[in-house]
Symmetry: C2
Amino acid sequence: MNATHQDLTRNQTLVLDTLAKADGPLSAYTILDRLRGDGFRAPLQVYRALEKLLGFGLVHRLESLNAFVACAHPHCHAHGLIAFAICEDCGQVDEFSDAVVRERLGAWSADNGFKAEKTTIEIRGHCANCAAA
Amino acid sequence: MNATHQDLTRNQTLVLDTLAKADGPLSAYTILDRLRGDGFRAPLQVYRALEKLLGFGLVHRLESLNAFVACAHPHCHAHGLIAFAICEDCGQVDEFSDAVVRERLGAWSADNGFKAEKTTIEIRGHCANCAAA
DNA sequence: CGCGACATGTAATGATATTACATTGCGAAG
DNA sequence: CTTCGCAATGTAATATCATTACATGTCGCG
Ligand SMILES: [Zn+2]
Ligand SMILES: [Zn+2]
Ligand SMILES: [Zn+2]
Ligand SMILES: [Zn+2]
């Protein structure tokens, strides 16, 4: 595990590159359309690649958008808990993490006997640039 | 605004009651099926009611499930930020809020000039009961 | 009554995701 | 080398979630 870029299959590489080149989140079907020229024909080709990439931590799913982004920090994977700030105007996504937030949510889980598997934090709003306009 | 239960229309009341009686989140189509006997025929009847109920704060949308729950605290809705702990085994949802988390995410937004409109926090995992089993 | 505002009814379509099954590529075991 | 097993891939069909478009109903108010 902890796969490097070299371990990726052709389809996984194509999907990851598509996300990396994009300026914002892409839906699975948008990825599919962008890869038609590379032989992609069916949604499953995209979803299967995404599934692996999500497992590798190279891609994140934005639940509130039903879309996907390449990880902004694929190296320093301190990925215990990630938060996303999503601009509704320009689509830009900012990925960050906060130790205090992680600690507080962890404390709630401990207090309530809840075994957390995955935490989603998504802030929808307007980025600095778009808010100015 | 700040609508009370009395202000609700028939369809809104039916949808809210369905959610309140359910033991967990329901998808829009599940709500539709449960209301066929009351004359519901089309998804839009559910989605329109949900849209209003979400606005009133009587219902929450769980982004990671594409499903909806009745608010657990429809009265003391001082919480500007709500978090959900969702059990993947039994479907139970626990709704809570944390002032420190709100403050930290607010601080990040302020630091980055981001104007937050809506924040989603969802923890997927296993509740105390199910984790024991 | 005549109008406007809002809720509702109905059909069609669009968008997102999964199931099922066949096939291919490739390294390990024999 | 051949066969086996496994993971990836290809393809079609289907399931699930959500919206658009347009017609109709209801009710308060001038
Ligand atoms: Zn990341
Ligand atoms: Zn922006
Ligand atoms: Zn609530
Ligand atoms: Zn449970």
